[in-house]
């Protein structure tokens, strides 16, 4: 059941109607059932995995909370983390590691007959596994108390708006919203929620899926590639993946808002970042902050000297890449961003200080714009690694990008004109959101501008929206 489908619209309408009619406890029960129905619509068999994670973390957190014995607390934390990672590793990474091990042994002349599972990846497994793990870790760290309300905890794990593609909520933030009665939905909260849903749909159906039509042919083609084609396809992909994922996050936040939940912001104008550190504070915030809090800091963070900091950054980003999928391209993408972070730390004295321009603010803005543009291109190289179907394709496209630039102008012109058609509204709304720090900023625009925006969004979706059954990119993770 995709967010951008009529089925989901009917489903949510029914859920919302029931929600308004019920009291807090029954609301939670109904939302839990709805969440399981929502997930079961993909493949009901994988509901058992959510159930296992739920029971495991509920029990482990209770046990951790019940004792002061450090060894017992560690034991249950290990059980929780290992159990979750085992499920994740088995379903997501087993074939990848088996395949690579077989290839490696083959190189040394050892014939290994690995058995591949070839099972479908349970949708959203990486998201809810990380979400539920954050709960036991926070209880272990003493940052929150465990709950004794199993069904409410089950709802925290399976809450349908953000179940399959995030944002990866923290127990500290979401669980209290589940446990205590939420404010009754008001016209204000409904308007904000509806706007976020509408904006998310616009990002997905109008921008992302249309840009996909530009990107896919370039990556589906066989080499040799033309550098300029690759470059414009990368520009298009940069905005495709942003609008695809941010679109999903906005819909999730909007659905949550309508139901009285406050789901965390996942994207904050990431292409306005001027350096890798800033980028990761703006891109997929729920994952990057998860990795920072539970992995990077766990490894020691930046507390033990420069070399250890760089090592920790590389490990964190490598694992962050691997989180996206069992492919070398994702691992390389993680390594690339790790390297960017390390290089940035090394070069920070140069990049973070503004040259002493004579005309102050304006020159500073130009200097920042140049840094943003430069860093955007570095991000695009990362997207090449991320989007490529194989390591060979990465090599071929990078070669084309730097060594075979002359190209057929018709394609470049077509791509740039299409992007000029699809993207302006994104820039306008993002600028407003960035300026005010409010995702629903357009709701505060003057009435005429606001309704003009709604109409433009409506007509854009209806007249030029891509209504195929293209899934959200991050579903595969």
């Amino acid at each position: 059941m995709l967010f951008n489908s009529i089925q989901f619209f009917v489903f949510f309408l029914a859920v919302y109607t029931l929600y308004l009619a019920l009291g807090h406890k029954k609301q939670n029960l109904m939302l839990l059932v709805a969440s399981y129905v929502f997930y079961g619509a993909w493949d009901w068999r994988f509901l058992s995995l959510i159930a296992i994670s739920t029971v495991l973390d509920f029990v482990c957190a209770r046990k951790i909370d019940e004792t002061e014995d450090v060894r017992r607390r560690k034991l249950f934390l290990t059980l929780s983390v290992a159990g979750n990672l085992l499920i994740l590793g088995f379903f997501k990474y087993y074939d990848f590691f088996a395949q690579n091990l077989q290839a490696l042994l083959g190189r040394f002349g050892v014939a290994a007959d690995a058995r591949f599972l070839e099972i479908i990846l349970p949708v959203g497994i990486s998201f809810y596994t990380f979400q539920t793990m954050s709960y036991t870790i926070d209880v272990y760290r003493g940052e929150m108390r465990s709950t004794d309300r199993f069904l409410d905890f089950a709802l925290f794990v399976a809450f349908f708006p953000q179940l399959v593609a995030g944002p990866i909520e923290r127990a500290k933030r979401l669980l209290p919203q589940v446990l205590s009665p939420r404010p009754r939905p008001t016209l204000q909260s409904f308007s904000e929620g509806a706007f976020l849903i509408f904006w998310g749909l616009f990002q997905k159906v109008f921008i992302a899926d249309n840009l996909a039509n530009l990107v896919d042919p370039v990556f589906a083609a066989d080499p040799p590639y033309h550098g300029a084609h690759v470059l414009v396809a990368l520009y298009a992909f940069a905005f495709q993946i942003l609008c695809d994922f941010a679109g999903y996050s906005n819909i999730a936040r909007g659905l949550g808002r309508c139901l009285g939940f406050d789901i965390m912001v996942n994207f904050n104008a990431p292409y306005s970042a001027a350096n890798p550190s800033e980028f990761w504070k703006r891109w997929h915030i729920s994952l990057s902050s998860w990795l920072r809090d539970y992995l990077y800091i766990g490894l020691g963070g930046n507390r033990r000297g420069a070399a250890r900091t760089y090592r920790n950054l590389i490990i964190t980003m490598l694992l962050g890449g691997l989180w996206h999928g069992a492919q070398w391209t994702f691992i390389l993408w993680g390594a690339y961003h790790g390297a960017l972070l390390v290089l940035y730390r090394l070069a920070r004295p140069v990049f973070s200080s503004e040259p002493d321009f004579p005309r102050g603010a304006r020159a500073g803005a130009i200097w920042r714009a140049l840094r943003v543009a430069f860093f955007f291109h570095l991000v695009c190289v990362g997207w090449l690694i991320f989007r490529a179907d194989s390591v060979d394709q990465i090599g071929a496209m990078l070669r084309a990008l730097f060594l075979a630039f002359p190209t057929d102008g018709a394609i470049v012109r077509h791509y740039l004109l299409q992007m000029a058609f699809f993207l302006p509204l994104l820039f306008v709304v993002e600028a407003s959101q960035r300026r005010t720090g409010d995702a629903a900023a357009p709701l505060r625009w003057p009435a005429a501008a606001r309704w003009a925006l709604y109409l433009v969004m409506f007509y854009s979706i209806m007249l030029c929206g891509e209504f195929g059954d293209r899934q959200f990119i991050y579903f595969q993770f």
Binding site: S5, I6, Q7, L187, S191, P217, D408, A410, I411, R413, H414, Y415, L417, Q418, F421, A447, R450, W451, Y454, L455, F458, Y459, M462, L463, C464, G465, F467, D469
Partner: protein, 368 residues
Amino acid sequence: MGSGYLATAVVALAAFGLALGVFLPLRKRLHPPWRGLGAAFFVVVGLRMILFWNPLAWRAYLSVLGIDDVGFMPYTFMATFQDLKFKRDIRPARTETLIIGSSQVDALFDNDVTREAGVPVFSIAGLGPSGYLPYKSALRRYNPRRVVLYLSEFDIGSHPLAPSFAYTPPSWARFWNLYEVRRFDKRMGLAYQFPAGILLADFFPEYKYSFVFRALLARATGRNAAMGKKEFKELTPEELLAMHLEGLENLKDEAVPLNMGFLEDFVKFCGEKGLQVIIVEGQYHPVAFRGENVRLHHKMRDAIERLCAEHPNARYIPRSEVYEFAESEFVDGTHVTKEAGEHFTRILLSRLKKTPVEDEGPERETAR
């Protein structure tokens, strides 16, 4: 422009003006969300009038876009839609014969012979039995005494829902046919897909006719030149033939009862309105007329003959009584050359002349 369209346009504009006249003075008294919603409503209706509900817009779309921009089926729809929507009269002049069908019908009958004889042809690529009743507005537009259908197992044995069905006007018949097709898909184990797009199209013409704007955008940004899209008219006859023969090899036994059901609904409807239905046996490339298709042909023929026996307003004319096409007269798997079409039309019209429409009793009303 027809008087029917003009009358509707005048009434609609008057209603729009009146509603706007009421809204504008009252708007300041309205609560802001209602004020905005009201203004948005008028903008949307106004834009619909400009973009979809006036003949000039469609003439412009047709003059700018070609088959290669929008695709074959939408293009034939655009061409027919104009005629159907904007040229209808309040009391349309009576026509003796109306020919209805797919692009096969267009290739066969849209020629000087029918034009000289004053026989209108209503054709949309892919239009088959599932679309006949939903397109009953064609009967209102042309007010015929008899309807000619051209049907072969290519129509009766194909999946009952051609992509062009998406453009049919909203009606109960359309919903019913859609429901029947979904049941058929389920029986056949075909991928079930909720026809959300088709339902959405009924409420939002913006979505229904979005193919026009997508094509305009593609044209404006030079998509065809950039992507090296092979133009439809550039396909060689061999490629076209191969494409059609592939389709002709996938006809389904199971589709026959469903398509015959749709055909019977249409024949019944025509019977109630006092219209005669002539079903002419259709033909396709002789190379594909073999094996399973021959068996399917007999099955379909038996079913049509039974239908005609049960409904006195239906007649069947086998190909042997008109003209049988040779291989050389086909330009592809299903469409014939202009000359062959004219030849066939001449024979059929003279055959129809010999069988005038019987007096069906009291003065017949315009089909509604």
